[in-house]
Amino acid sequence: MVWLNVVIQGVLIGGFYALFACGLSLMFGVLKVINLAHGDMAVVAGYAAVFLTPHLHIPEVWSFLIVVPLFGLIGYVLQRTLIQKSIDRDPFTTLLVTFGLSVIIENLLLEIYTANGQTINIGSLITKSWHPTSIIYISYLSLAVLGAAVLVLVFLQLFLSKTGTGRLIRAVADDREAAQLSGANYRHVFGIAAAIAFATVALAGIAYGMMTQFAPTSGGVNLLFAFEAVVIGGIGSLWGTLVGGVALGVAQQFGAHFNPQYQVLAGNVLFLLVLAVRPQGLFGKKTALA
C-alpha cells in the first residue's frame, strides 16, 4: 500500500512535468530549436500571477485566465523578433541567445522580487484531498493539474490533426520549404507554435506556483525535469511526454521514499539509463539523436 501511494504521487507530479514539457516538445518539433529560457518563462508567469492579477481584482486562482493568453502573445512577439532572428543565424545562436535570456530573466527577477519564495494563493483548496485509505493521499490540486495536463495534450492533439492551422504547423515541422511552397508563411507558423508553447508553460508555471513555493531560480530545475520527461518519453511524441513525465515522477518518488536527498538523483539516473539503453526514448523517433 505504501508503494501504491508512491506510484500515485509519482503519477500526479508526472502530469505536472508533462504540462511543463509539452511546449518544449512542440517548439523543438516545429522550430527544431530548444528554448533554454522555457523554464524561466514559467517562473515569470508565476510572478505575473502573484503580482499582476491583484491589480486587476481577480482572485489568484483564476489568474491563469489572464496570464495564459498574455503569454501566448508574448511568445508570438518574442518568436517573431528575437528568437526568429537567432534562428535565421543558426541553431547554435539560438541556444546562446535563449540561455542568455534565461540568465537575464533570472537575475532580473532576483533584483526586482528578491530570492524570497512566492506562492499563488488559492485559499483552502491547497489542503483539500481525498484519502481512500489511511496511507493513500490524493491532493485535489495535484489531480486538477494532472487533469489540466491531459486536457492540454488532448487539445494539442486535436488542434494539430483537425484544424488547418494545426496541419500547417505539422507541414512546417515536416518540411519547411515545401510548406512555404504551399503558401505557408513559416515565420507566422513559428509564431503560432511559440505562442502555444508559451501559453502552456505559463499554465505550468501557475500550477507550480499553486502547488509549491517558487523563486527566481526555480525555472532551471523545472526545465531539467521537463527535458528529462521529453527524452524519457521519446523526442517528438506528445503522449510520450506524458508517459515520460509520469515515469520521471514515479522514479523521483521512489528515490525520495528511501531518502529525500535521492529524489532528484533518482530521476537523473532514470534519464541517464534511458539514454544508455534506449536513447530514442519510449515512444520516440530518432530525430534528435546524433
Binding site: 488547418g164 505539422r170 507541414a171 515536416d174 520549404e177 515545401a178 512555404q180 511552397l181 504551399s182 505557408a184
Partner: protein
C-alpha cells in the same frame, strides 16, 4: 502580341561565390508551356527556385503581370499565383494524402481546382486518401505533389524534374496531364533533364548551359544537333542524338 504573364529579365543568382544563373531572360505567355532544358548543374532548378522565391536573385527582375515580385517571399508568390512542384516531390511524409492536399488548399485562391477536382483528375486518389505519403509509390507521390500545387489555383505552375527517379511509363502518364492543366488556363514552366520529354510537351524550349542561355526556340524549328550543342556545350556534344539521360 499581348504582354507576357511571367517576365524574367537579366536574372543573376549566386550560390555563395558561384554564379549559378548568369544573365538569363525569358518570358512565359498566358496558356503557354515553356521547357527549360539543360544538363545536370546547368542552373535549371536554381532558376525555378528563384522564380518561386526560394532564392534571392543578385540582379535582374521577375515580374508577374507587369509587377515585380523578385523581393517577395515564397508564400506571397503562391498567393499571387506562382506554385512550384519541387524536385524530389517533397511531400509531408507524416501526413496522409488528403492532408497534403489540404495544406496546399489552405491558402488557395479561387479557381477551377479544389480537392474534389484533383480527385477527378487522379481517380485512384479517393480510395487511398487516408494513406500516408511515404506509403505511396514514386509516381503516386509525384501526382500528389502536382495536386498539392494545383489546389492553390496557380496562374503559373512550375514543374521541377518531374521525371526524376520514375519509370518511363509513369513519366509519360504524368506528362500527359500537362495539356489538361493548360486547358484550365494555367501556364506551365517545366524544368527537365529528359530532353525528349521536355521538347515533346513544350510550345517553346529554353536551353541552359553553365548558367547561361545557350539556345531558345520552338521545338519544330530546332535540329537535334543544335540541341545537343546547346545542351552539352561545344566540346562535349556527342555525335549520336541525345537520349533522355538519367
Amino acid at each position: 502580341m499581348s504582354k507576357p504573364l511571367l517576365d524574367v529579365h537579366g536574372l543573376v543568382v549566386h550560390h555563395g561565390q558561384l554564379k549559378a544563373i548568369d544573365d538569363v531572360s525569358f518570358s512565359l505567355n498566358e496558356g503557354e508551356v515553356l521547357a527549360v532544358i539543360g544538363a545536370n548543374g546547368a542552373g535549371k532548378s536554381t532558376l525555378l527556385r528563384t522564380v518561386a522565391g526560394l532564392h534571392r536573385p543578385t540582379e535582374g527582375s521577375i515580374s508577374l503581370d507587369g509587377s515585380d515580385i523578385a523581393r517577395l517571399s515564397p508564400h506571397r508568390r503562391v498567393a499571387l499565383g506562382i506554385s512550384l512542384v519541387p524536385e524530389g516531390r517533397r511531400l509531408f511524409s507524416t501526413m496522409t494524402l488528403e492532408e497534403n492536399l489540404r495544406v496546399g488548399a489552405f491558402h488557395a485562391k479561387k479557381g477551377p481546382f479544389d480537392i474534389e477536382r484533383i480527385y477527378e483528375l487522379f481517380n485512384w486518389m479517393p480510395k487511398r486518401r487516408r494513406q500516408y505519403a511515404w506509403q505511396l509509390s514514386g509516381g503516386e507521390q509525384q501526382a500528389v505533389a502536382i495536386g498539392r500545387a494545383l489546389v492553390a489555383n496557380p496562374r503559373v505552375l512550375l514543374l521541377d524534374e518531374l521525371s526524376l527517379g520514375l519509370a518511363p511509363i509513369v513519366i509519360e502518364r504524368i506528362y500527359a496531364l500537362v495539356p489538361e492543366i493548360v486547358s484550365h488556363g494555367v501556364s506551365v514552366l517545366i524544368v527537365e533533364q529528359d530532353v525528349a520529354q521536355g521538347v515533346a510537351v513544350a510550345d517553346r524550349v529554353h536551353c541552359l548551359l553553365e548558367g547561361k542561355t545557350s539556345l531558345t526556340g520552338v521545338p519544330a524549328d530546332l535540329t537535334s544537333e543544335q540541341i545537343d550543342h546547346a545542351y552539352f556545350g561545344a566540346d562535349l556534344a556527342p555525335s549520336s542524338p541525345v537520349q533522355g539521360s538519367e
